[in-house]
């Protein structure tokens, strides 16, 4: 990819646990993550994989019974006036510093359900203006002008009239646009989108994603997507992190993950989503259920569901192996060890990925293959 990438977020060995009545739940177990300026990463995984918890920690929004046991979340930026580079560890900040410095101002978040993230008793104009007036001490007029600008940016026509509306007067897609406008109101550098489209209808989903992409280009935002929808990932991400049971099991560029996956869990994930050409008699599924993280995980957490598990998987948690000939592609699986038997991805998946690759070749009709737009 690009040279001179500017790192903006650096997460190292993050461990997070929750105290529950059922015992201590180790929700995030040693996550490493990098985010560079202007780029988009996606965190993919099932529910309970720790993907949301990781980003909540970045925002300093962990629930009361949750705690960061170890690790660091470094945020890098250049000072607004002097331009000198600065670094801060978000894990070490107090609640007050988080509120005034990080949340909303440098890192903003878009949640799944727009209805619950908007205040039903306040006009949307007020909701967009408020964070600006709080964080940047802007006057009402300035904030108003900026709010209008933002509404136009997120594709809302008739912005002046909409400013006076209440959330319930708008459609779901419109509300999510407002949520994005609010997130952008303080000019953050990082935008975290937690399942931004799952609550929306299919026809609106694509529109919202395209909108976020558009804004990202205009504002040089870095975006983190949290999702279980591989369609969304395929559309937006530059880099993909696959999470399972609180660990990142595979990371790489979008092409590496989608066309050359190495971890059996990623294989399962890619196989289980039918694309429009799937007509197999049975969808491939990963057997069993995810482990209960309230218990100590011995060895590789995925081993009990992995038909390619090795004996060592039952004993030792695999480290991140680098995939040869790639700087970005890493896999946490003992199958990558030189001594391991060579295992190829299931034949059906191989065929499907090849077909996908072909379909996506540049000489192919670029827009869409099955339907004209």
């Amino acid at each position: 990819m690009k040279e001179n990438r500017e790192r903006i977020l650096k997460i190292r060995d993050l461990n997070i646990s929750f105290k529950t009545t059922g015992g201590k739940v180790h929700a995030v177990r040693g996550v490493n993550l990098d985010l560079y300026k202007g780029e988009t990463i996606a965190i993919v995984g099932g529910s309970g994989s720790g993907k949301s918890v990781t980003t909540k920690a970045v925002m300093g929004l962990l629930a009361n019974n949750g705690s960061i046991d170890s690790g660091s979340i470094e945020y890098h930026w250049n000072d607004e006036y002097t331009g000198e580079p600065k670094t801060v560890d978000i894990c070490q900040l107090s609640e007050k510093e988080l509120q005034s410095e990080i949340r909303g101002r440098k890192i903003a978040m878009v949640f799944q359900d727009p209805m619950t993230s908007l205040n039903p008793t306040m006009t949307i104009g007020k909701q967009i203006m408020e964070p600006m007036m709080y964080h940047y001490k802007k006057s009402k007029q300035e904030a108003y002008a900026k709010a209008l600008e933002l509404l136009e940016l997120v594709g809302i026509t008739d912005a002046k009239k909409r400013m006076k509306n209440y959330p319930h007067q708008l459609s779901g897609g419109m509300r999510q646009r407002i949520v994005i406008a609010i997130a952008l109101s303080c000019d953050p550098y990082v935008l975290i989108c937690d399942e931004p489209t799952t609550a929306l209808d299919v026809t609106i989903q694509a529109k919202i994603l395209e909108l976020i992409q558009d804004i990202q280009k205009k504002k040089e935002l870095s975006v983190i997507y949290i999702t279980h929808d591989l369609g969304v990932v395929a559309k937006v991400a530059d880099y993909v992190n696959v999470m399972y049971a609180g660990k990142i099991v595979e990371t790489g560029t979008i092409d590496e993950i989608f066309y050359d996956p190495r971890h059996p869990y990623t294989w399962g994930l890619l196989s289980s989503m039918p694309d429009l050409d799937t007509d197999d008699d049975e969808l491939y599924t990963i057997p069993g259920t995810p482990p209960n993280l309230a218990h100590e995980v011995k060895g590789d957490a995925f081993a009990p569901r992995n038909e390619f598990a090795l004996n060592i998987d039952l004993r030792e948690d695999p480290p991140m192996f680098k995939v040869p000939d790639s700087d970005s592609h890493q896999v946490a699986s003992w199958l990558m060890h030189p001594n391991a038997p060579k295992v190829d991805m299931p034949e059906a998946l191989r065929k499907r990925l090849d077909k996908m690759k072909q379909k996506g070749e540049p000489n192919h009709d670029g827009s869409t293959t099955h339907l004209g737009s």
Partner: protein, 314 residues
């Protein structure tokens, strides 16, 4: 690159890189540890200190109220003018009153009556309130509208007016007081029940029952009731101190139990007359009364947190 070094130094066992299992044994389903919701609630409740203290106090007071009058040599209504207004001592632990009645026995007898009145009144409330709320909420539509209007009319008459009228018309007795208390308290119970039923009957598991052809009776008793009983328990716990209070209040203003019966309210009322001369006659029942009220409230709070944790974990 410490990780890579560690990897190189790692000792592998000979069979490490062989496949661990046959694919057949993969298809197993794990479930979360067996722990019933009931046990969860108990442990949550036990962790709440206030609630535990509350329940201990209630238990102690109840035991005393039952046992103390039986074990004592004195009788709560035995008048002995030679023993008037004795201060607390070895003979009479809590002293005697204006008529020479032993206050230790009278206090626990009074507590017994107060508790009995409260529990009986609340029991009637629950039966009427839950039934009323259940029918109103479950059947909805016109039935609901009519029942709600009736309830509003009853509710719009101030409680005290009803109580006073009732006690004036009927002879004041234990039964009358219980009736009077039941008459007003059931409305709150029926409201809560109705709200819970309205919420629960739209849940998917109730719809599922309906698609299976379950009758109203089945749905109410098997599907809805088990899911709202925790709210009922909380409501009961919160209502009992209310009933005790009303009973005491009625007795205090002189509408309560006939002489020589004792309740916490009548004791406080009697003590109040001689407060300046014999303060112990009023202070002791007030203390017991306060502890009882506080305990019920603490337990109610604890139960609410334990049975209905609105703060979901994670």
């Amino acid at each position: 690159m410490t990780e890579m070094q560690a990897l190189q130094e790692m000792k592998f066992q000979p069979k490490d890189f062989e496949f661990a299992h046959e694919s057949q044994e993969l298809e197993k389903d794990e479930v979360m540890p067996a722990r019933s919701a009931w046990k969860d609630s108990v442990s949550l409740f036990a962790r709440n200190k206030g609630a535990v203290i509350g329940i201990v106090c209630i238990a102690l007071i109840t035991i005393f109220a039952i046992v103390a009058p039986m074990l004592s040599d004195w009788k709560y209504d035995a008048i002995d003018t030679s023993l008037q207004n004795i201060a607390p001592g070895a003979q009479h632990w809590f002293g005697t009153d204006n008529y020479g009645r032993d206050l230790w026995v009278r206090l626990w007898q009074g507590t017994r009556i107060s508790l009995f009145v409260a529990v009986a009144a609340i029991f009637i409330d629950v039966v009427i309130g839950v039934t009323y709320g259940m029918i109103s909420g479950y059947f909805g539509g016109k039935v609901d509208s009519v029942m709600q209007r009736i309830q509003e009319v009853i509710n719009s008459i101030p409680t005290l007016v009803i109580l006073t009228i009732l006690l004036m018309v009927m002879k004041s007795s234990l039964f009358t007081i219980i009736l009077a208390l039941s008459f007003t308290e059931w409305i709150g119970m029926s409201r809560i029940t109705r709200a819970q039923v309205l919420k629960t009957k739209e849940e998917e598991f109730v719809l599922a029952s309906r698609t299976l052809g379950a009758g109203s009776f089945f749905i109410i008793f098997k599907e809805i009731l088990p899911n709202i009983y925790s709210q009922m328990i909380i409501m009961v716990m919160m209502s009992i101190p209310n009933a005790i209070f009303y009973e005491a209040y009625l007795s205090f203003v002189g509408l309560g139990l006939p002489i020589p019966e004792a309740s916490l309210g009548t004791l406080i009322n009697d003590g109040f007359n001689t407060l300046t001369i014999y303060p112990f006659q009023m202070i002791i029942p007030v203390v017991v009364f306060s502890i009882l009220m506080l305990s019920f409230n603490l337990v109610g709070d604890g139960l609410r947190d334990a049975l209905d944790p609105t703060m979901k974990e994670m």
